[in-house]
Amino acid sequence: MSSTAVIDWAKGAAHAFAGIKQRGISMLPFRHAGITRFQETGLPTTKDEDWRFTSLKPFIELPFEIMIESGSQTIDQSAIGDIAFSQHDTDRLVFVDGNISSELSQISEQSEGVIVSNLASASPAIENKIGNLSSEDQNPFIALNDAFFTDGAWIHIPANSTLSKPVHIVFLYTAIKAGQASHIRNLIIAETNAKGTIIESHITLGQAAASTNVVTETQLGDGSNIEHIKLQDQSSLAIHFASLHSKLGGNSCYAFHSFALGAQLSRNNLRMDLTKPGIECTLNGLYMTRSRQLADHHMIVNHAAPHCDSHEYFNGILDDQSRGVFHGRILVDSEAQKTDAKQTNKNLILSDNATVNSKPQLEIYADDVKCTHGATIGELDNEAIFYLRARGLDAQTARRMLMHGFTGEIVERIQQNDIRDELNELVWSRLENEHHLN
């Protein structure tokens, strides 16, 4: 991006800022700080190490129009019925273009003190909790989100409480004009020994090259246990930026599963802060891309306390001219003795024109640790195919079986049984219908 383009872009953003001001006066200083930070940094280019393989060109070429209100499209309950996981017994928070839809949402009775709601309804009481985990990050998309976020989920599980049902947060996008941009902010706080499952879906209903910028902050208390499943299944025109910032308490357990199936350009920034001992943190993900899609996962797991385990497993299947980008950095502070960190990134290339860029990194300053990482890129193992064929399977079935195993590795780490089964089917039907399996 040339410097003049950055300036033009920033001007557009400043203009949009005038619109968001009506959203309440108390957040204004926070929003101002965000826009100022954004104006200082501008958008990253491929010269920035963190964005080296992910060009923002498709995003920059679009106009930038902040969506403050939901689009005019009416959505009825039947549209919700078509969405993955909607048939399961969950509580449902539905957001349309970054604003809560109370007609479509459905929240059951919760145990005392548990809040499953939207941010806007709870302000200004919780405003001082927003940005605590994310604001230090230099990512310009966080600065943009600080300035322009409209609404998002607010989930609070008090000490020793459990979510009565999994919470399904559905984000629907109805943008009809290219360049419309939704900014969403989620805040999840689980106190000591709290438990729960949270599912996050991003679905496009409109047909425009619109963008989404989601920032999620999760704060886990000591001994808490949260499973967080994210399905990004937006249209092939959509652009998806997401940033997840988690601070984990002692002996807590956090599992995050990312399924990146849609969007022409998607970027998931995952930042895990392990500042107390005994944490178990799992980041698990699958990306499947085709045509000109690009899926980027960029994570930093910061081990700052001893006796923590972190596991990152990311598998990708790439078809056509698509591109998969993986950046994983495990940072082990000199305090973080007895760390057990594992990171793998496996990629399966199905076409002659797909590209994989993988950067699995370890940065270790403590000596009594067990850290490993591995990355593979290639096609299906011919010997494995041979093995199956020797047992009477035809080549096609053998390939499918192996591929199913490849995606299954990731899917099976989901603990919630019914959700796992549905995702398994969803992933498989996508592969069968849209990828060149043979």
Partner: protein, 481 residues
Amino acid sequence: MSASTDTIDNFVASDYKYGFTTDIESESLEPGLNEDVIRFISAKKHEPEWLLEWRLKAFRHFEKMENPSWPHVKYPPVNFQEISYYSAPKKKGDGPKSLDEVDPKLLETYEKLGVPLHERARLAGVAVDAVFDSESIGTTFKEDLAKAGVIFCPISEAVREHPELVRKYIGTVVPYTDNYYSALNSAVFSDGSFVYIPKGTRCPMELSTYFRINAANTGQFERTLIVAEESSHVSYLEGCTAPMRDENQLHAAVVELVALDNAEIKYSTVQNWYPGDEEGRGGIYNFVTKRGMCKTNAKISWTQVETGSAITWKYPSVILKGDNSVGEFYSIALTNKAQQADTGTKMIHIGKNTRSTIISKGISAGRGQNSYRGLVQVGKKAVNARNFSQCDSLLIGNKCGAHTFPYIEAKNPTASIEHEATTSKIGEDQIFYCNQRGLETQDAVNMIVNGFCKEVFRELPMEFAVEAQKLLDVSLEGSVG
């Protein structure tokens, strides 16, 4: 193991035994970097006009570049105006005609370093080119090699005697535009070795260059060029040491390897520049660009043992341009005291059926910081390219760091790339086991470290392997409390 146990006793007192200086009258250029300096060096070497032009072009390019900041190392900026770019022992008249006429003090220096230059004293089968500061002082076994058609001489001599060869290949693998230090080297390089192996020839002996920095406030900018014609084979060794000084000295070398069809080059380095003291004072900044180009069916193998230097910044690479070509990289990098190393390799797969192997062993002790940084790139046309990388780190103590920054890029579905990395420490139970069997803790550590590095030692030529093993033991001396 007995060899390394011996060395422990020998070296308890001093940890860097090559830290002496040779008191010899030398001819040095005033510190400073400008076009006149480059003209002076070029004139001193009686270089042809085209080479001077090339140097000047490189210098102009260098002035436009910025010092790279991406390596994972920290050091105060280098002031290029404070360095003398030329220093050589003073010669009488036209200089020595043969090794017999070389100043005995110089010969003594190399004797002390364990590299006697008298052919009779030398292990048969290894020819040595000795580079002292900016000049080569002599090359052994020149005649024997000439009989086989092998050219092995200082590069400044090659420029005069074989200009057509040098001109054809210099800068083709590492162009002066490649990076900051390759531009600097192209502008001011002083000496280095030139090797040419004719078609179908297997070089009759190991070739070796021994680099010694002696003068203070100088930098060493050597340039090595090895050309292996079709179906030839050569094994080349390189060793380096420098005196102990409180200020940092810069060593910015460029090594280019050209392996034509079916040729094989094996390049081994034992780098033992002065690493600086416990506090990180002094030591060599080792900023080196090494790269080889493989044509069809050719093979280039890099083996390195990096124990010295305050800061190492080096990525011996192979461009696998020809079909079926093979690249290998075996590395041991040890950082102790306040040393920092950012080293690794690049394997660029362009041709079909190209293969590469990367084995990197990093050992961090004291306050050392050790990073592996590598790139494996498989281009669109590299059908059936194969790569296997393994990067293991060993940590000794909790003040050091071990880091891995691999970059993996594939554009071909038939490529198969595997990367593995592990980080571990020497277990107390391992040490206990050895202690129980009567081994001292330090010996136990040495034994475990040697086992950890075994895969790389195996790749070194025999005499080097022994030396490298001893070197590791010495460098680890005192790291276990």
